[in-house]
Amino acid sequence: MARPAVLAPAAARRVRLWLAAAAAAAFLLVWPLLVEDAFFTHMATLVLLYSIGAASLHLVVRIGHLSLCHAAFLGLGGYASALLTTRLGWPFLPAFVASGLVPAAVALVLGPILLRLRGVYFVLITYSFGELVRLVFVEWQSLTGGSDGIFRIPPPHPALLTSRAYYYFALAMAALCVGFVARLLASPAGRFIDAIRESERLARSSGVPVLRFKVMVFALACGLVGLQGSLLAHFIHYVSPGAYGFAESLNFLVINVIGGMGSLAGPLVGTVFLVSLPELLRGWVQYQRLLYGVVLMAVILYVPGGLAGIGKRTLELIPGLRRSRP
């Protein structure tokens, strides 16, 4: 009797995961074509773009720091791209690259100073720094246009004027950026990141300069969110200081906490939830923000692992995806 050709359980599981991923990818690619309403593609595009910033903040969280100035770097990228395209007439691609380099450079310079602080002190200094940057955006009127902001920012390409077209562009960009973060976290560098967070002293004993490494990761994270800034600017066609303040930084943080800080899935889930939540609650305009606050408290109290934690447990209930126990 021939043995049935059955894959080993681990391999079978991996095949099922790939199938699930392929199905998800297919869905992401196809659904905008089936939906007429541009509003949904608009929202989905925002979700995709914000996932970049949320994932990049996750990197900072993984090295054990909580930054309250992430929106400042979003703004640096947004303004860089806006100014280079509208004032200097640069084409989109070099402006886009610059929008990643400028915040990364700033982070590289300031990182050694900022990252020496830990815990609450890091939160406080990033809060102050974020406010300072926002003040600069507002005050340096000759450069930034002040509170008025910068208008008529061109799309990356004339074909990208509709929500649907931009959606695919954003999907590609988000896949690249988030994919990059995922690869980084899965690599030996990623393991070192976790080692630093868990015990900095121990990590130091390995001989790798810890502070310098943290600064590199921090600069990477700030560069990534700068890229998001550029993509947003060319989507909304307008930048202003109001979009880059404390509230926005807090949003990124809350996305990470509610989504779950343990893995990259957290910020992704968190972004979907929190960027679309105000839209879901639009029916009750007055109560919308009230619900937001209540939901925030409820999630913190009763769902400590974040939404991704729930998701993981739910997924594990699906036979075939569960890791086989010895």
């Binding site: 309403d37 541009a38 509003f39 608009h42 929202m43 925002l46 003040l135 507002v138 005050e139 009127q141 002040g146 509170s147 008025d148 902001g149 208008f151 004027l161 929500s163 947003l232 909304i236 066609h237 307008y238 202003s240 109001g242 979009a243 105000p278 839209e279 639009r282 305009v285 007055q286 919308q288 923000r289």
Partner: protein, 388 residues
């Protein structure tokens, strides 16, 4: 709801006397509204919502808007833009795409207004908007109308009136919020005062959130200012400035060429508001306005934010344009709007302007007042014509 209405209407028609009389059917027309309903700009968003509500209730009680053969009941669908450009764009996108509206009232303030018209322009949706940024109206603004005069229209007239009425006053002190309003408007005031023969000795910006203006006021006083100009300050901040200035012993003129939000100033400053001058939009004693004021107070508590009459007015203009166009086609309604000159409205006979300044004649011009607080009441002191 619409389908049901149609069925009911058709049945009514069928049952009606088979004479050559056309029976008007009742249908609902959705009008979009966008404004800040959370965060710092909430006063204005609420003012918009309330002004539009008063107008719509009034119109609907009188049988709705008759567009061609159909009488439409107006229904407002309003979304919060959180006073950001992104919020304005999202709200407008939802209104245009999900709710299918063709007419939008809003937003209030330049960032969300610009966000809204970025969507409505290409979609050929009519937007009646209010924001001081000069970028709102330009030769491409085919479907955008601004329904309140911006500072460059009313500042010169008020400065001239001030010069005439207070011949001894010479020096102006300005305190403005450090945002789009403050940064672009302060220079307009300085220029207007200069033209009227004043010298601006102090021009300070503060970050929104500041409540203790005494240092800035002291600064201004030490430079000899005898006219304290409050620019486009939020009503609450303006009230605090009035109170603090008087408490510091400032004896000169206090005027707000902007806002208006004088009811709230009185609430915040109490007896110190006596003598406060302000740009105002209507004479509360005029007969036509009483209707609006009493309707407002019948529905809503609290002081009337000065923007409510503006939006009440805008809604009435839109309704009239719909009636004249006889159709829901936005090109026809736009043309009807453009030809509304002379139509009597809450703010006086309609007049459009802006061809020279912006390249498109979509700026509503209306007369305005300077009012003074006397014995705790707002009393118009002079009426200024609306032309630039």
């Amino acid at each position: 709801m619409n389908t049901l209405g149609r069925i009911a209407g058709s049945a009514a028609l069928a049952l009606a006397v088979a004479a050559a009389v056309t029976v008007a059917r009742a249908e609902e027309l959705k009008i979009g509204a966008v404004g800040p309903l959370s965060g710092g700009g909430t006063d204005w968003g609420l003012a918009l919502q309330r002004g539009v509500t008063v107008a719509m209730d009034e119109i609907n009680a009188a049988g709705g808007v008759k567009v061609g053969a159909t009488a439409y009941t107006l229904k407002m669908i309003m979304y919060d833009d959180q006073y950001t450009a992104q919020g304005g764009t999202t709200a407008a996108t939802r209104l245009v795409n999900s709710d299918g509206v063709k007419f939008i009232l809003g937003s209030v303030g330049s960032p969300p207004a610009l966000g809204v018209i970025a969507v409505t322009g290409p979609a050929k949706v009519i937007a009646l908007t209010d924001g001081y940024s000069p970028k709102i109206l330009n030769p491409d603004s085919k479907y955008t109308f601004r329904i309140q005069i911006p500072t460059e229209y009313f500042a010169p007239g008020i400065a001239r009136w001030l010069r005439k009425t207070y011949p001894q006053a010479k020096k102006v002190g300005l305190i403005s919020p450090n945002d789009a309003v403050g940064q672009s408007l302060a220079p307009i005031h300085v220029a207007a005062y200069k033209d009227a023969g004043f010298e601006t000795v102090s021009n300070d910006l503060f970050d929104r959130g500041m409540t203790d203006f005494t240092p800035l006021i002291t600064r201004m006083m030490s430079r000899g200012a005898d006219v304290f100009e409050l620019d486009g300050n939020a009503p609450g901040d303006a009230g605090l400035m009035v109170k603090q200035a008087r408490q510091l012993g400032y004896k000169g003129v206090i005027i707000q060429t902007g806002g208006p939000g004088v009811d709230e100033v009185i609430r915040v400053a109490g007896p110190f508001a006596e003598g406060f001058l302000t740009y105002d939009l209507f004479d509360p004693t005029e007969k036509a306005v009483q209707g609006f004021v009493s309707q407002y107070h019948a529905k809503f508590e609290g002081p009337i934010n000065g923007l409510s009459p503006i939006w009440y007015n805008a809604t009435k203009l839109l309704a009239e344009a719909l009636r004249r166009a006889g159709s829901l086609d936005t090109d026809k309604v736009r043309d009807a709007l453009e030809h509304l000159d002379g139509f009597p409205s809450l703010l006086g006979p309609v007049k459009w302007d802006g061809l020279e300044r912006y390249g498109v004649r979509h700026q509503l011009v209306h007369s305005f007042f300077v009012s003074e607080v006397k014995n705790g009441k707002v009393v118009p002191v002079t009426k200024v014509g609306g032309a630039s």
